[in-house]
């Protein structure tokens, strides 16, 4: 079945086609959920919600852009809805560390599990901003709109996230010397 056929069947709410769609995209979408969620269990919850939204809203997909891009956006939106309302305590010193864009570390082989773990451990807002900016290529302006924060806050959050991650990567490096 081609993707177009699959989408048509899914628009008819065909259970088989929905299963096929899940098979094709659940892994990619689950990775998004994992890096936007604080843990594995909540990532699974978000994935479930995202797929239900996809199946219910698939009628609105109008073949104009990439389908994968569309379902990824829905997934990101689903997770954002969960965590964007949670407040972070970093209003002060925003501009102070905003310049610290480039944080470099030694290129050593750090396992993916660990990287994911430390991303998940970030405070909600930091995690969202970091994932959106670094991993999914959103601009600060977009992030600000989507999370209901200013561009500056987004930048500041990103810098803080980087700082935390760097510390943890270095700690890992120390421990595994």
């Amino acid at each position: 079945m081609t993707l177009d056929e699959l989408i048509i069947q899914c628009k008819k709410q065909d259970a088989k086609a929905q299963g096929e769609l899940y098979k094709r995209y659940s892994n990619i979408l689950f990775s998004i959920c994992l890096r936007y969620s604080p843990n594995y269990v909540e990532a699974e919850d978000s994935l479930q919600d995202a797929f239900i939204t996809i199946f219910n809203k698939i009628e609105q997909f109008k073949d104009k852009g990439s389908f994968e891009g569309w379902i990824k956006r829905i997934t990101v939106n689903t997770v954002l809805q969960k965590y964007r309302k949670q407040r972070v305590f970093d209003i002060e010193n925003e501009e102070q560390i905003a310049d610290e864009a480039e944080v470099e570390i030694d290129d050593i082989n750090i396992p993916l599990d660990y990287l994911l773990k430390i991303v998940q451990e970030l405070p909600d807002r930091y995690r969202l901003v970091f994932s959106m900016y670094v991993l999914d290529g959103y601009q600060h302006k977009e992030i600000g709109t989507m999370l209901g924060i200013s561009d500056g806050t987004s930048k500041s959050n990103l810098a803080r996230a980087r700082g935390i991650l760097k510390t943890k990567v270095e700690a890992y490096k120390e421990a595994n010397k």
């Binding site: 994992l34 699974e44 219910n56 073949d63 470099e104 570390i105 994911l116 670094v134 989507m146 990567v169």
Partner: protein, 522 residues
């Protein structure tokens, strides 16, 4: 910190932390546990079944309707015993009047008969005694003809036959009425032999004949003919013995007449049963009730009638008004059936949306924009953010509004209910159970976007059924102000069965109304 950074820059194999994470985390894939798919499947199935499953209220209303139907049938059966009594009374009366009619016609006949008798008597004088049969036959002929009211022709025929004196011909002619002829010929012989008897007596006989004939004509059955025949033979024989006995026999024939009238009565009772039922003039069986109600409209389901994407949005029902007139007919003291017409305005609001202007192809599908190409439409909150980041929904300009925006759907129906009302308590203060169906004819409707500083109608909804139904259940309280006037207050729950042509809409609307009115009996 700065120092640390500059130190690190000098180290080999330095890597931007962003790149480290991007490299590893943006391309990895992870397999969720099987539970996720199972949950999704279960949820989708549940949503599907939610749409298919017969709503609980449908079932409840069905049971209510069935009960109401049973009540109706039960009361009909109960009514039947009453009506048959009335009917038999009526038929008795009717048969009496019919009998009196008979006597009238027979007396008329008697007049004619006596005239004929005179003629035959004059004939008797001119003819031989052996020609009695002929006379009798011709006499019968006369009767037959009189019964068909062809007097003049009959007399002519008599004259002809008298001149011809051909008895055989007439007897051949009379073959179809053979029995009558024989009997009557017997009678006539009797008449001939007892010429000394008074004319009045003969008239009596004629009367009997007429009666029997009319009854024969009426019933047209051989059996009754036979009985009449035998009785008549008896009459003929007994007449020869004495006058008193003749009277007795005539009484008997009268009795037999009565018997027949009972047969008639049964026959008539059958035919008139229906008539009698209709004829029963019910006193104050009708009620007319102008009523008015605040109605609250909402949905039992989670879905949205406007767009599936609004299914999880905040939706709130609004209170509007219904007004109309109801006419009810009391089948029994307790049970009444009612109908009428009323105008119902319903509306509800969907929140959590944002507005945008864009091409009609991107707009809500459930709205009829009336051929416009660029329209104002609504999206689920957050959808338009996707647009800004190069989304498939291109070409939409978000519209900024102050405060929360709501999408308000207004629907106006003309409602024609058919409901049964059963009085549980039927005193000065009454309590009633009400159940039934309404047919809803769609009137005006629109979908309007409303914000604090803004209100614009998007268009009409195109997924509303032009004719739909609702099941209604409710409790009615009434207070009898006087014999004629009654104050009613009826909280009703009305569940709509097929309000939307789009069956995938898991929006299951109902409306609650408290109908108040004053009913007038007439």
């Amino acid at each position: 910190m700065r120092f640390l950074l500059s130190q690190e820059l000098k180290m080999k194999n330095k890597k931007n932390i962003d790149e480290l994470f991007k490299e590893k985390l943006s391309s990895f894939e992870a397999t969720p546990s099987a539970d996720v798919w199972n949950n999704i499947q279960a949820k989708m199935k549940a949503e599907k079944e939610d749409r298919k499953v017969i709503p609980l209220w449908w079932k409840v209303a069905g049971v209510a309707a069935l009960l109401a139907l049973l009540f109706t049938i039960g009361s009909r059966v109960f009514d039947d015993s009453k009506t048959t009594e009335i009917v038999t009374e009526n038929t008795k009366e009717k048969t009496n009047t019919k009998n009196s009619n008979n006597t009238i016609t027979s007396s008329e006949n008697t007049v004619i008969a006596s005239e004929d008798e005179n003629k035959t008597e004059t004939l008797e004088k001119t003819t031989n005694a052996s020609d009695n049969n002929t006379k009798a036959n011709s006499n019968n002929d006369v009767f037959n003809k009189t019964s068909t009211s062809n007097d003049a022709i009959a007399v002519e025929e008599i004259k002809k036959r008298n001149t011809i004196k051909g008895t055989e011909k007439t007897s051949v002619e009379k073959k179809p009425r053979f029995k009558d002829n024989t009997i009557e010929s017997v009678k006539e012989t009797v008449v001939a032999t007892s010429t000394s008897e008074k004319l009045s007596e003969k008239e009596k006989e004629k009367e009997e004949k007429n009666i029997s004939k009319t009854s024969n004509d009426k019933l047209n059955t051989i059996d009754t003919n036979k009985t009449v025949d035998t009785e008549k033979v008896a009459v003929a024989i007994e007449e020869t013995s004495s006058e008193k006995e003749t009277n007795d026999v005539s009484n008997k024939t009268e009795a037999s007449k009565n018997k027949k009238s009972i047969y008639d009565a049964i026959e008539e009772s059958k035919t008139e049963e229906a008539v009698a039922k209709v004829d029963r003039t019910p006193d104050n069986r009708w009620d007319v009730t102008p009523n008015f109600a605040p109605v609250y409209y909402n949905s039992l389901g989670e879905g949205s009638s406007i767009d599936p994407s609004f299914a999880d949005n905040a939706q709130s029902g609004d209170v509007n008004f219904s007004y109309g007139v109801q006419v009810s007919y009391n089948i029994t003291d307790r049970l009444s059936v009612r109908s009428g017409v009323s105008n119902v305005d319903l509306s509800y609001a969907t929140g959590g949306i944002e507005l945008g202007t864009g091409p009609v192809s991107q707009a809500l599908r459930s709205v009829d924009y009336g051929g416009r190409q660029v329209v104002l439409t609504a999206f689920d909150n957050g959808t338009l953010m996707d647009v800004s980041s190069g989304d498939p929904f291109g070409g939409i300009t978000p519209k900024s509004t102050s405060g929360d925006v709501e999408l308000v759907q207004n629907i106006s129906y003309y409602e024609v209910p058919l409901e049964l009302k059963y009085a549980v308590l039927n005193k000065k203060f009454g309590v009633n159970l009400i159940g039934g169906l309404s047919t809803l004819f769609l009137g005006n409707n629109d979908i309007t976007a409303q914000a604090a500083n803004f209100s614009e109608t998007l268009g009409e909804a195109n997924n509303l059924s032009s004719v739909s139904f609702s099941t209604n259940v409710g409790i009615g309280f009434d207070y009898k102000i006087s014999r004629k006037f009654k104050f009613n207050i009826e909280p009703m729950f009305k569940y709509q069965l097929n309000p939307y042509t789009d069956s995938s809409v898991s929006f299951r609307p109902y409306y609650l109304g408290v109908y108040t009115g004053v009913s007038f009996k007439f």
